[in-house]
């Protein structure tokens, strides 16, 4: 049971760690770009949306997997 909980924690922790770094980089560059050139806002926000959508898919999947692992550990 302890191993299952540990596996769930590692899966979600590492997934969220990578996604937090990726999200921070994407949004910081997007805000910087929009502040420099507000006329490019449309294309920049679309690119940011695609990037964040892809980056966040992994931690959400890892969260669900962690949840399933916790369920099996009980």
């Amino acid at each position: 049971m302890v191993y299952g909980l540990l596996a769930a924690a590692i899966v979600f922790g590492l997934g969220a760690f990578g996604a937090s770094i990726g999200n921070g980089m994407i949004f910081s560059k997007t805000i910087e770009g929009i502040s420099r050139q507000p006329e490019l806002r449309g294309s920049l926000q679309t690119t940011a949306f695609i990037g964040v959508g892809l980056v966040e898919a992994l931690p959400i999947i890892s969260l669900v997997l962690a949840f399933i692992l916790m369920g099996q550990a009980e």
């Binding site: 969220a16 996604a19 937090s20 999200n23 949004f27 997007t30 805000i31 929009i34 502040s35 507000p38 006329e39 490019l40 806002r41 449309g42 294309s43 920049l44 926000q45 679309t46 940011a48 949306f49 695609i50 964040v52 959508g53 892809l54 966040e56 898919a57 931690p59 959400i60 999947i61 969260l63 669900v64 997997l65 949840f67 399933i68 369920g71």
Partner: protein, 137 residues
């Protein structure tokens, strides 16, 4: 200003609704696989909610950056993770559906985003150089 995000969101929603339709069709044709199709349907619905929330958040951040305002604090990723977890809890714990099918449903909208994003990048690269200057060919 060219705003592609509403167009992209409409396409992603359409693709996800198509997969939801396929899930309903599968459930109707093969009722004995109810656990698989039910889990997929709930996961795909959750992923659609996630994508709508992310689009709303992206537009809000862009509005604040364009207006020179500071972003207010929010739950960010936690709210989206909570939506995914809620879909998983409803599907697996409450209704007893298949966990793997739920995960497959949750990645439906991100996969649609990936495919549409890559195709739009390829289309932009293949464009004529004069497109950037707004000239007609």
């Amino acid at each position: 200003m060219k705003d592609d995000l509403p167009v992209l969101m409409r396409k992603i929603s359409r693709i996800t609704f198509f997969f939801l339709f396929l899930g309903c069709l599968g459930w109707a044709i093969y009722p004995e696989w109810k656990e698989v199709f039910g889990g997929y349907l709930i996961g795909a619905l959750g992923s659609l909610l996630l994508t709508w929330q992310l689009a709303w958040k992206t537009v809000r951040v862009a509005d604040m950056a364009a207006g020179g305002r500071r972003s207010r604090g929010g739950f960010g990723f936690m709210s989206r993770a909570a939506i995914g977890l809620l879909a998983a809890v409803i599907s697996v714990r409450t209704l007893g559906y298949d966990p793997a099918a739920t995960v497959a449903g949750i990645i439906t909208a991100p996969m649609a985003t990936l495919v549409l994003g890559l195709s739009s990048i390829r289309r932009k690269r293949g464009g004529h150089p004069s497109d950037e200057r707004g000239e007609k060919q």
